[in-house]
Amino acid sequence: MGLRGEAAIVGFVELPTEKLSKARPQTFLLEQWAQLAAAALDDAGLPAESVDGIITSHLSESQLFVPSTVVEYLGVRANFAELIDLGGASAAGMVWRAAAAIELGICDVVVCALPAHYITPVSEQKPPLLTDAVYFGASSNQYGSPQAEFEIPYGNLGQNGPYGQVAQRYAYEYGYDERAMAKIVVDQRVNANHTPGAIWHDTPLTVEDVLASPVIADPLHILEIVMPCVGGAAVVVASAEMAARSRNRPVWIKGFGEHVPFKTPTYAENLLQTPLTRAAETAFGMSGLARDEMDMVSIYDCYTITVLLSLEDAGFCEKGKGMAFVADHDLTFRGDFPLNTAGGQLGYGQAGTAGGMHHVCDAARQIMGRAGAAQVPDCNRAFVTGNGGILSEQTALVLQGD
């Protein structure tokens, strides 16, 4: 059951990130979609005319009928056109959906794009609708929304508070080593220092720097939280036949898993047993590959606590021993457990939902042997995660080179 591993990532593009607070209007998201698609297809060496599937997320210019809007703009005749709404898990979710469509035989080339330069042109004739997302993050303040009634009035909104609650519960159940948490950021920063386009490319970091940075939501320091950025990323997923025509080493999608049990973590059955537990088990089982066969991992890292729980729940270390695992391993691209070798979002910057695609690109770049100064030698297999909301929707991918 599951994927046969006969669809591959054959091209990708990941734009350099810029701080959201300093970003200036460029083009519309729909226009960015087309630019990203062209760049990813160019990278793959495949013609745009070969595209017969697209997967998109929300676009500010188009609230409804997003897939057909994208298809029309690109001039694609799509056999598969999907809208995906899994936040930071959207990117990994796109990749397996594209692979499934290809293995079902309905598509040969699927483009998955997440344009994320969110500062778009404005016109006085059509002032932008200030949506809830501006102030309430992923929570809905609409009448009838459970979040509007039972979360937002108490300030339970956005991400920092809930992730702080998760970390606080972890400390209560398993203990807490703030230096280990800081080391996650520091090791990833080394990787960012070797990755062009990373927001922190030129800025080294120490554990002391992390611990001296302001606490935003106890126990999380500001440097344990991603920097909001703009950017964008896209990948091309293709059939074996089209992969053979591509110029890159194909990165086969060998297995995936996805699990979505809640929206607000208050209602999680167990706050510390994330949905990735099941998603990773499914992904490894489907791939026929073992955890210790992974040459690198790219773990969704909106916060340090997300990385910690993911390492445990994906089965790379025992539950409750994540902090010791982090302290005992070198997580840099040179280390014995290469993690987020392009800096992760903590080092590269989080360009909205394109942040999820950062991890897909990280793994593809390594397996294709294109990671430059941060290349992991002989990298053939990778494990990738996506995470949306507050540990609410999680996706795992197992990828392998030819």
Binding site: G155, Q168, T266
Partner: protein, 137 residues
């Protein structure tokens, strides 16, 4: 630009919960077929979708499941609320509840501590919010 605190607006389904809070009582749903309490209010029981939800009064006593101290405002609407103690309380009957801790200093808060209800009336919105404070031992 000023930002008013976002307040809940009851719906036909959730009104019994909010009506009870106005009387400083706590009414939540219970599903006899699953033998479990349910929160937030729904038209069907979560998981089984059983059509047997009934309202029951609970004491509101509970345990602090987790919390954080928001050192910066979670949104402009809460600019004057920092440091804000964002809490998850587990009721003795089982369900968890998103709330805020009041009448306690951040450094005195401990996960696992017993907590009791504080009914906060907001007559201008005809709403009572349910916050929590340490129960003492």
């Amino acid at each position: 630009m000023s930002f008013e605190r976002p307040m809940p607006v009851p719906t036909p389904t959730t009104a019994p919960f909010w009506n009870a809070l106005r009387e400083h009582r706590i009414l939540i749903q219970y599903s006899p077929s699953t033998g479990s309490y349910v929160f937030y209010p729904r038209v069907r029981a979560p998981r089984t979708l059983a059509d047997d939800l009934q309202w029951r009064e609970i004491s509101g006593m509970g345990t602090l499941y987790s919390y954080t101290v928001a050192r910066r405002p979670v949104s402009p609407h809460f600019a004057d609320a920092v440091p804000q103690l964002l809490a998850i309380v587990q009721w003795d009957e089982g369900p968890r509840f998103s709330t805020e801790l009041v009448n306690v200093a951040p450094e005195q808060v401990r996960v696992g501590m017993r907590v009791r209800p504080v009914f906060c009336d907001h007559p201008e919105h005809d709403i009572t919010l349910l916050r929590y404070e340490p129960a003492g031992d």
